[in-house]
Subunit: 146 residues, 2 copies
């Protein structure tokens, strides 16, 4: 059986997800696999009751995305993921992880899991859905809760 | 980060789970990890409305377990799992996998997953619970449905 060729690590930048990051990097090295990173800025469409709020909301999302890009770049340097393999997306965590995984030919998605409390905390309540909808293998790395 | 040291592969002997078996064996080799196998004969307490049915039911379970031991031995030979690391258990799939994982110091459980249809088919509807209750990492290997 060929080794994994392209591993995608989904991060929420939490301190707890550090062990999952290390596991993803270790597996990528053992499999000589390409390593990609993804962070999703969750899009939360809120009803502000006024159209004029929309630009502010979009500004905030862009600000969060810009900040995330900087953090992902630092993580990418540590983990050995090329700049072009660092994805910051805005939208639904589940959908964006699956979309990027499919678009870039990922064969293993690595996510942190809080064990008894499920995958919910690290990646939002959609992580479960990632697992069930993924077009590829999924590794849930047990991380210690905060 | 140290490699996985003890990998547990849970099998239902289905043809579809073959790719998951190969993945588990490949990872064990890459990590120089001990490889254990488990098959659980699901205990289904049925109300037959008569006590005299119980011995027959127990006989059937033992028969299934004996047959499973033979199949697991053949799988173990192919995958490189020692005889003492082949577990056939009778009971709840979830509970038995978690019990054996904890008792033998497993740090990665590998299970087959049917993707969109969830983990339910391969390991019964309890596989989801394995994932959420596991004391260690869980790798869900995508397998093709029948």
């Amino acid at each position: 059986m060929p080794a994994y060729s392209h591993i995608l690590f989904a991060t929420d930048f939490s301190q707890e997800s550090e062990s999952a990051a290390q596991r993803a990097a270790d597996l990528a090295q053992r499999c000589t696999a390409r390593l990609s990173l993804i962070h999703v800025v969750e899009f939360s469409p809120l009803d502000y009751g006024g159209e004029q709020m929309l630009p502010i909301e979009m500004d905030l999302e862009q600000e969060l995305a810009d900040e995330a890009r900087k953090r992902l770049e630092r993580l990418g340097e540590r983990m050995g993921a090329a700049k072009s393999d660092q994805h910051v997306e805005i939208g639904s965590t589940k959908n964006e992880i699956l979309r990027v995984a499919a678009a870039t030919g990922v064969d293993l998605i690595v996510v942190g899991s809080h064990g008894r409390r499920g995958l919910a905390l690290l990646l939002g309540s959609t992580a479960n859905a990632v697992l069930h909808s993924a077009p590829c293998d999924v590794l849930a790395v047990r991380v210690k809760g905060p």
